[in-house]
Structures are given as structure tokens and as C-alpha cells.
């Protein structure tokens, strides 16, 4: 009969009206400033720079100012200036560091390409929900000090991904140390061969066994398989501790004649 549909509709809305008072499952909204949203682990918006140590963020930044992210960034929101001097990194190897590292978050499109191309796991995606600034020019242009956040923070926002990254870095460090030991043993066994090793050390950073990690993952034309290692996925959590073996090397980027067998072996 005409009008029965109207009555059914009224019943539905009446149910909603009453239900919203006593049934929390119906009530879909959150009182935002009081109740902060629980973000999913894979939520991301703007990049930040990972540092090893919370107490000395500028000194223990993983970034070596290789400028790959700056070149890859589609909207070109990253600006990096290399340092003039070098500082030791986590493996004790002397590295450049970014004297200036700016990200214009008003330009950033949160694509995560900088994270995927970074060979040093130095830049990761942040989870800042309330992004607002009173000044759109300086307020949204984040500098090095604002971007640097400790690895422990990375663990709190993306635990799965951070564990995987840590395991990979530890594995790479272990392999590098083994190689260094082997190289030292070889050097001790054959002192005559020490000279070329010293020369190649000056020739390029990748020669150092401690930097096998870096040379292993120097990208540029980063293969897709390597990118897959950095994007969060549940299967990686289990696969990561097994070692960084699946990552193919990219020998084209390496300095000529620098530790080729060592890099491909890892």
C-alpha cells in the first residue's frame, strides 16, 4: 500500500536515533580532540629522518646525504646540502652527513618514494595526524632538526617494519664485520697484499668491508625486488631475519674495481 515504504523508512531512522544513544557500535564518530584516532600501522604522511640515538639526533643520523631521495622525489620537496666534513656512522665508517635537509610538507605528496629509494634506511614515513601550522611558509618547511627522530620512535609507529629494518641492518653489519675480520686475517697472512687494500680505501668508500652494506644497496636504478624489502608487508617480518640475500646488487653504481666479489657475495 502507498505509504508503507515511508513507514519502514521512518522505522529505520527511529532505530538509528534510539540506537545511537545506547549502542556504541552504531555510533561511528569520535570526539576528536579528546579521543585521538588509533592510526593503522601502515598509516603514513610525511617523511622523517631516522637517527640511531635519541640523545644525539644530529650526530647519529643515518642519512649520508647521498641525495638520491632529493633526485627521486616527484614533487621535489626535499632539499639537501652535503656536509664538508665526515663523521663516523653506526658502523664506525666515516661518512658525509646532510648539513641542510629540508622537506616542504606543503609540497610533499606522501608517496613514500624517498623511503623506497633510500639505501641506508635513513628516511621513513611518519605518522603525524594533526598537521597544522600557523605560518604556511616556515611552519610547513621542516628542517633537519625537526625531521630527525630516533629509531625508537620508528619502532613505536611502524613496529613490524622497524623490526625488519633493524634485523637487516644487524645482519649486514655482522656480514661486514666478518668480512673485515677475514680481510684482516688475510692481511695478517699476506702482508704484501696490504698495500692495494689501503689504496682502494682512498679510492672509494665502497671498498671498505664495513661499507659492504652501502655498496650492496647503492640504488639509482633500484630493482623492484629491493624496493619490496622496504615496503611494509607481513611476509617480510618473517623473511627479514634470514638475511638480506634476496636483494640483488647493482654493480653499475659501484666505483670501478671496488670490492666486487665481496658485494655480490652478500
Amino acid at each position: 500500500m502507498l505509504g508503507s515504504g515511508i513507514i519502514q523508512g521512518l522505522a529505520v531512522t527511529a532505530k538509528n536515533f534510539v540506537g545511537s544513544f545506547h549502542d556504541p557500535a552504531r555510533y561511528t564518530t569520535q570526539e576528536y580532540p579528546e579521543v585521538l584516532p588509533t592510526l593503522p600501522e601502515n598509516y603514513r604522511n610525511f617523511p622523517f629522518l631516522v637517527t640511531e640515538n635519541a640523545t644525539d639526533p644530529m650526530g647519529t643520523m643515518r642519512c649520508v646525504a647521498c641525495q638520491i631521495c632529493e633526485k627521486e622525489c616527484p614533487p621535489q620537496c626535499i632539499y639537501i646540502e652535503k656536509s664538508k666534513d665526515k663523521k663516523p656512522d653506526a658502523n664506525g665508517k666515516m661518512q658525509l652527513y646532510p648539513a641542510v635537509f629540508d622537506i616542504d610538507t606543503s609540497v610533499c605528496m606522501s608517496c613514500q618514494i624517498c623511503v623506497e629509494v633510500c639505501p641506508f634506511d635513513a628516511i621513513k614515513m611518519d605518522q603525524v595526524f594533526a598537521i597544522a601550522a600557523t605560518d604556511r611558509f616556515t611552519g610547513l618547511l621542516l628542517d633537519r632538526a625537526q625531521l630527525a627522530k630516533p629509531n625508537s620512535y620508528y619502532h613505536t609507529i611502524h613496529p613490524t617494519e622497524a623490526t625488519e629494518v633493524d634485523a637487516r641492518l644487524a645482519e649486514e653489519k655482522r656480514i661486514a664485520e666478518e668480512k673485515a675480520k677475514a680481510a684482516a686475517a688475510a692481511k695478517a697472512a699476506a702482508p704484501a697484499k696490504a698495500l692495494p687494500g689501503d689504496l682502494s680505501r682512498d679510492a672509494g668508500r665502497a671498498t671498505d668491508p664495513g661499507l659492504a652494506k652501502a655498496s650492496n644497496r647503492v640504488p639509482g636504478q633500484t630493482p623492484a625486488g629491493q624496493q619490496a624489502g622496504t615496503v611494509p608487508s607481513p611476509s617480510n617480518a618473517a623473511g627479514a631475519p634470514a638475511g638480506p640475500a634476496p636483494k640483488p646488487t647493482s654493480p653499475t653504481m659501484k666505483p670501478p674495481g671496488a670490492g666486487g666479489p665481496a658485494a655480490s657475495g652478500s
Binding site: 500500500m1 502507498l2 505509504g3 515504504g5 515511508i6 523508512g9 521512518l10 529505520v12 531512522t13 527511529a14 538509528n16 536515533f17 540506537g19 545511537s20 544513544f21 552504531r26 555510533y27 561511528t28 564518530t29 570526539e31
Partner: protein, 400 residues
């Protein structure tokens, strides 16, 4: 039929206030002062009611959509209407360069004043009628119909072809629904034998068996008439699902396109005033006005009963707004001319029958009810079936 029990102090409060004023104010000025007080009281009460209706509407719509509605300004968002008012007041008032300046300015003013004028004849309580007119019903609908003029004024003065077209469409709707609205009122006037609103309310006094009130809505023709009146009132006050003149999502507010700031707020105010007045008229005509539903409930003052019924109807308006989607213009006019008008005309016959069979008693009384119900239900079903033939139920072939 007014009960002979001594009236409570609260009930007699308007009378006492009137006496007090008569004692203070010199006699030649008395009519002026009393009408002024009535105007101020109506402006204050219904202005506040308008403010909180907007809040209630947003709250109710929110709850219907499982969200809280405004709750930031003051406790439960109680200050929200005032925040909205301040916002509207400090907004820039933009008038198109080519607009008819005078008409553009006058349209919202005329609309609000005409909407307010309708309140004058509503009997809010036993002793609370601003103006006692013998032809109150006629006056009410005349003033209500004049708002259509203001709508067209707004559309014309905007110097905007879309506003003008929207105003014409609004006129088409308002005039279409004016007819069933008035036709559904005629039976009440026929049976009460008076055009005075106080007389109509008095005719609905008393209780059958002591608990069934003699409200017109509890008769077959009265129920049908109330439904027709209510539907037509929804359309007359531009409320969803008949809010085509505005149609925010489709028409950028139709004839209101070129209005901004407080003029726009005035249109909203007029909509709510019109809605409230029509609900008040519906209460007066069909729901027994200020009459209490039971004898023992008469301790509650009559004006509270009136406002309780009024608020019930207003909440019903909001409930319907939260439920039904907007009609198309052809559906809208077809519904008026092919459904409401014939039903209202048939209802006239039903009430004539009801009026002629007043003397029937006993078993004949049952026959009277049965016949009247048949007169109401059969046309409804038949015309309704024809109206929706070939239209419903709709099958969506390409949607899941």
C-alpha cells in the same frame, strides 16, 4: 465543553497579567500596549524557539545518522544557535549589482513579517490568544499564502535567471499544495461551524468515555484530513522531502542564491516560523489545540499542552526530513494534483456524511464509523495504487 473545575493559578496567569496591565496603563492606550506586549512576546518566544529548533534539528538529524550533532558550543551545543546568529550577522551582505535593490532588500523582510503575522490568531492557551478573530482560519491562510509573493520577490529581485526559474518552481509547488492544505481544513470548519480558532478548539473539548478526547484527528475523516494537512504543510514550509525550492545539493538554494549574511538567515527564520505556525494550526485544527488529552491532566496549564503538541509535530517534521529523500518536481506536482487534491475532495464528502449522521446511535454508530472508514481507506488505496502504478517498486538493474 470547558470543564467547570476552578482553574489553577498558572492557567489564569495570562488573565492576571492582562488585569495588571489594564490597571497600570491608561484606557485609551490599552489596546496599543496589549498588542505591543503580544508582539514582543511572540517575537521573543518564537525567536527563541526558532533558535533552538535549528539546534534540535541538527541534533536529531545527527542522531538519525549515528553522529552526535553540534556539541562544542556550550553544554550539549546549547550556544550553537547564538554562534550561528553572530556568524550570520557579521557576514558580508552581498547584493548583485544589477539586482533590484529595494525588492532584494524587502523580500526577506516581507517573508518574515508575513510568517510572523500568522502567529497572531493561534490560540496558545485557554486565555492566551493574541488576536481573537471571527475569521481567524481565513486570516491565517491568507497571510500564509502571501509568503509566496515574497518568494517570487526574492527570485525576481536577484536579477539571476536561475533564481527566477527557481522562484517560479517554488511558486508552482506552493500554489499546488495550497489547494490540498485548504481543502483539508474545510471539513474542520464545516464540522466546528466556525472560522474562529478559539471556536474550533472549544469544539474539540471533552472526552468520550472519559479518556478518548474529542479531537478531530480521532475521527476517520479527521485522521485523513490531518495526514493531508500535514503533507501539504511539509510542502508549504519547504521542508524535506518537498524542499525543492531550496534543494541545497542541486540548486544552490534556488531563489536564495543571491542572498547572503543575515538576509539569508531571515529566509531560514521565515521557513522555521512558517513551519511552526503551520504546525500550530495543525494542532489547533486537528489535535485539539490546547486541550489536555485526559481530564486529570488538565492540571497542567493549557499553553503547555499546546507547546507539547506543537513540539511533537515539529519533531515529526525533522524525523521525516531525516528519512525521506527529495522528490522530483514532476513527482511533487503529480502527488499534489493527482493524489492529495482528490483525497481532500473525497474527504469533504466523508465529513458531510459524518455531519449528517450525527444523530445515529447504537449499532448505527458503528455503521457510521465503518462507512466513514471505508470512505477514507478505499479512495486512499485506489488512488494510491494508480499513482504508483508502473513506478514502484523500482528495480535497479545495474546496481547491486
Amino acid at each position: 465543553m470547558i470543564s467547570a473545575a476552578p482553574e489553577s493559578f498558572l492557567e489564569r496567569l495570562p488573565l492576571l497579567a492582562g488585569d495588571l496591565i489594564a490597571r497600570v496603563v491608561p484606557a485609551p492606550l490599552l489596546w496599543f500596549v496589549t498588542s505591543l506586549i503580544a508582539i514582543v512576546a511572540i517575537l521573543a518566544i518564537f525567536g527563541l524557539l526558532f533558535a533552538f529548533l535549528t539546534l534540535a534539528e541538527r541534533k536529531i538529524l545527527g542522531r538519525i545518522q549515528n553522529r552526535p550533532g553540534p556539541n562544542r558550543t556550550g553544554y550539549f551545543g546549547l550556544l550553537q544557535p547564538f554562534a550561528d546568529g553572530i556568524k550570520m550577522l557579521i557576514k558580508e551582505d552581498i547584493v548583485p549589482r544589477d539586482a533590484d535593490q529595494v525588492l532584494h532588500y524587502l523580500a526577506p523582510v516581507v517573508l518574515v513579517s508575513l510568517a510572523l503575522m500568522t502567529f497572531a490568531v493561534l490560540p496558545f492557551g485557554r486565555h492566551l490568544v493574541p488576536v481573537e478573530l471571527d475569521t481567524a482560519v481565513l486570516y491565517f491562510f491568507a497571510a500564509g499564502a502571501a509568503t509566496e509573493l515574497a518568494v517570487f520577490m526574492a527570485g525576481w529581485a536577484s536579477h539571476n535567471k536561475y533564481s527566477l526559474l527557481a522562484a517560479m518552481r517554488a511558486l508552482a509547488q506552493l500554489i499546488s499544495y495550497e489547494l490540498p492544505l485548504l481543502l483539508s481544513v474545510v471539513p474542520v470548519v464545516m464540522l466546528a461551524g466556525t472560522l474562529s480558532t478559539t471556536g474550533i478548539v472549544a469544539a474539540q473539548g471533552g472526552w468520550k468515555f472519559g479518556f478518548i478526547p474529542h479531537w478531530y484527528v480521532f475521527t476517520p475523516w479527521g485522521f485523513a484530513g490531518f495526514l493531508i494537512f500535514f503533507t501539504a504543510a511539509l510542502a508549504e514550509s519547504n521542508r524535506s522531502p518537498f524542499d525543492l525550492p531550496e534543494a541545497e545539493s542541486e540548486l544552490i538554494a534556488g531563489h536564495l542564491t543571491e542572498y547572503s549574511g543575515f538576509k539569508y538567515a531571515l529566509f531560514f527564520m521565515a521557513e522555521y516560523f512558517g513551519m511552526t505556525a503551520l504546525c500550530g494550526m495543525g494542532v489547533t485544527l486537528f489535535l485539539g489545540g490546547w486541550q489536555a488529552p485526559c481530564a486529570f491532566l488538565e492540571v497542567i496549564p493549557s499553553y503547555l499542552w499546546f507547546f507539547a503538541k506543537l513540539l511533537t509535530l515539529l519533531v515529526l517534521f525533522m524525523w521525516i526530513r531525516g528519512t525521506l529523500p527529495r522528490l522530483r518536481i514532476d513527482q511533487l506536482t503529480r502527488f499534489a494534483w493527482k493524489f492529495l487534491v482528490p483525497l481532500a475532495l473525497i474527504n469533504l464528502g466523508t465529513v458531510a456524511f459524518w455531519h449528517l449522521t450525527v444523530g445515529w446511535g447504537g449499532a448505527l454508530q458503528l455503521a457510521r464509523w465503518a462507512l466513514a472508514l471505508v470512505f477514507v481507506i478505499v479512495p486512499f488505496v485506489l488512488i494510491g495504487r494508480r499513482l504508483s502504478a508502473g513506478v514502484a517498486p523500482r528495480t535497479y538493474r545495474y546496481a547491486p
